[in-house]
């Protein structure tokens, strides 16, 4: 059925795409998945004849989750590799850090960052975010938590942008629904040699539940400390901090923990495909929350190039909406399906492994389901789900 798949045109310039992922540093646990997903999509596409008959050339860099290094890496991608887009930035500070360079050079950015500043600072409409912004997280998780009937909460968060706005939204929601936040929400820094004081402060008023948005490395240490402190109330966090590795690291003590996250449409077709591509088994749990986004980033970018028929980034940016967003188009779940459809002259809507990939007019992803999960017997058990209602 691939009669129309073109062969790579010999001698044509390749299409350059950059991937800038947090392979080390704070995002270290996630970056490699994203990078691998990027590479898989590109390999798949190249094997099937490339885009516009041209080979896709992928250059991957490590942001080290550090904006200082990331800017130089972006510089290299832009000026040496002449990429049309930089995909995969994760931490907001990196996404924002390279933004001036990218905007100046007219390079598309695709990220999974959650800072509310991202749309505001994207003046040229070149940034696409595959992650819900953190206020949305806070609101949704609070909503789910309230359904469990907690009346008093204490909040603390890792000190970064992602968690900062999440806490505000969480608190606002809690108050709006008549429950109480009994502490003055506060932040802690990652990479500390102990978190005892912070935990002490958090549980001081003996709240029914505590909410701690964080990253996995520091959350693991914090959670151990909470457990050791003898706190008997409910701990709530975000699922990115409570993956398999977390559960392995803390063992049985993880039982009873609640965590929420925007989820890939588990059971959806694209997600199943992702698991297969990544060689994972379907456990019914959320796996690779960012790897899935990596797949969707690369897929939508390449589809958009094919759609735009050029590598002019303004045109490609416009085409990204065309291939991902809007009703009444043919739904595709993988890049190859999509390419085929585009070449067949069809209008497509790419539905991804991380979400259905619908963007608002600022390039922020819309359609994300949220799910609240409880750890029981070392396994995630879904307790509540909040489906995105288009």
């Amino acid at each position: 059925a691939t009669a129309i798949a073109p062969k790579l045109v010999l001698g044509a310039d390749p299409i350059n795409v950059g991937s800038l992922t947090p392979n080390t540093g704070g995002g270290g646990p996630f970056g490699p998945n994203i990078a691998a997903a990027h590479r898989r999509v590109v390999e798949e596409v190249n094997a099937a004849g490339g885009v516009l008959g041209r080979e896709v050339q992928l250059t991957q860099e490590n942001s080290e989750t550090n904006p200082e290094t990331a800017v130089r890496a972006a510089d290299k991608l832009i000026n040496v590799n002449q990429v049309i887009g930089i995909l995969g930035t994760w931490s907001s500070s990196v996404t924002l850090g390279i933004m001036p360079k990218c905007q100046e050079a007219g390079v598309i950015q695709m990220c999974t960052s959650s800072s509310a500043d991202i749309p505001a600072k994207d003046e040229k409409g070149l940034v696409f975010n595959f992650q819900a912004l953190s206020p949305v997280w806070g609101d949704a998780i609070a909503d789910l938590a309230l359904r469990r009937g907690f009346k008093t909460f204490s909040l603390m968060a890792l000190n970064n942008d992602f968690t900062g706005s999440m806490i505000d939204a969480f608190a606002a929601k809690v108050k709006a629904k008549g429950a109480q936040v009994i502490n003055e929400p506060f932040f802690y820094n990652g990479g500390q040699s102990s978190y005892r004081t912070e935990v002490e402060q958090l549980i001081a008023g003996d709240p029914e539940a505590v909410f701690i948005p964080a990253y996995v490395t520091d959350f693991t240490a914090v959670y151990k400390e909470i457990f050791r402190s003898g706190y008997e109330g409910q701990v709530i966090s975000v699922s990115i901090a409570t993956g398999d590795k977390f559960k392995e690291a803390v063992g049985e003590a993880a039982n009873g923990l609640l965590h929420g996250v925007p989820v890939p449409p588990i059971g959806s077709k694209a997600y199943a495909m992702y698991l297969q591509e990544a060689g994972l088994e379907d456990t019914g749990e959320v796996q690779h929350p960012f790897g899935t986004a990596g797949r969707d980033q690369m897929s939508s970018l390449l589809l958009a190039v094919e759609k735009a028929g050029s590598t002019d980034t303004a045109k490609v940016a416009k085409a990204i909406w065309e291939v991902t967003t809007g009703p009444g188009k043919k739904e595709v779940f993988s890049v190859l399906e999509g390419l085929e459809a585009i070449r067949a002259g069809e209008e497509i809507n790419y539905s991804g492994a991380s979400s259905s990939v619908e963007f608002d007019n600022e390039g922020m992803v819309l359609g994300r389901d949220f799910q609240l999960t409880e750890v029981q017997d070392g396994k995630d058990v879904v307790v509540e789900r909040l489906e995105f209602k288009g």
Partner: protein, 286 residues
């Protein structure tokens, strides 16, 4: 308040032994060795490998891990530092930072950046008089005290300990008096390496095993050792206690995000009052 003290004590017990080791290495080799972060990380992963991958009991795994770390730390001297003995302390400092990068990334190369834990269930605390402490923490404190006393006893009463102090004081003269300084230094590395291995275990228990584990402990260790006055085992322990208390008390007055910073300020103030460190002695040259 009592809880604050217990917490500070646990912090101190974690930082203390490596601070003692750092201080000993500084004393004998005359440079601040920032590779301690790398050593601790390696220690934690070595113990992890024995404990989780090979399924040995934690105590045995710890002992083996200490041996492995000791050997590795000694090897790092043979390969990296030994040929550079004569070089300036700051050059060696930079070299040690480069070494810590290599060790950390080496660990990452094999194990990735994921978080890990030992095969030991977390425990709930024992409670008394409104204060809480876990069995693990009691262990950590006990071990730290044991390490301090052992180190002190070695330095003060054993032949090798005296040789260590002499070597650290005046390398050339030590040789002249017949001390095999090469062997003394090797022993020091091995001993300190074992302490870093132990810290790997304790740190992994208290925090979480990951490549940056050691790096996160480095600055408090450095501060404690300097504060205690280089070369003094009890000094380093006391330094650790003060760093611990300083950080704990900060939170009573300032947002906890400033914890690390205030720790530094208190250290600075202490040093202004007693510029030679707590246990260091002022030297007057004539």
């Amino acid at each position: 308040m009592g809880q604050v003290l217990i917490n500070a004590l646990v912090n101190a017990a974690l930082i203390g032994p490596p601070a003692v080791a750092f201080s000993m290495l500084f004393g004998i080799l005359r440079f601040p060795n920032f590779a301690i972060g790398g050593y601790i990380t390696v220690g934690a992963f070595a113990v992890f490998a024995f404990n989780v991958t090979l399924g040995l009991p934690l105590v045995l795994a710890t002992l083996l891990g200490m041996a492995v770390t000791g050997a590795l730390v000694w090897l790092s001297d043979e390969i990296v530092f030994k040929p550079m003995r004569e070089h300036s302390p700051i050059t060696l400092l930079i070299v040690s930072i480069a070494l810590t990068l290599i060790l950390e990334q080496g660990v990452r190369l094999f194990w990735g950046a994921d978080v890990r834990g030992f095969d030991l269930p977390l425990t709930r605390p024992m409670k008394f008089a409104g204060m809480r402490i876990t069995v693990e923490q009691v262990w950590i404190i006990g071990l730290a005290l044991a390490v301090a006393s052992l180190t002190h006893a070695i330095l003060r009463y054993t032949r090798i300990g005296k040789a260590m102090r002499a070597t650290s004081d005046n390398f050339m003269l030590a040789q002249v008096r017949g001390i095999n300084t090469g062997r003394v230094i090797a022993f020091t590395w091995l001993y300190c390496g074992a302490l870093f291995g132990l810290t790997g275990t304790l740190g992994g228990l208290d925090l979480v095993i990951e490549p940056l584990l050691g790096w996160n402990l480095t600055i408090p260790i450095f501060a404690a050792a300097i504060l205690g006055g280089i070369g003094s085992a009890y000094g380093a322990m006391l330094g650790a206690l003060l760093v611990g208390i300083a950080e704990e008390l900060t939170v009573l007055v300032l947002p906890s995000t400033y914890k690390v910073g205030v720790g530094f300020i208190i250290i600075a103030l202490l040093l202004l009052l007693r510029p030679q460190g707590l246990f260091g002695e002022a030297q007057i040259k004539k």
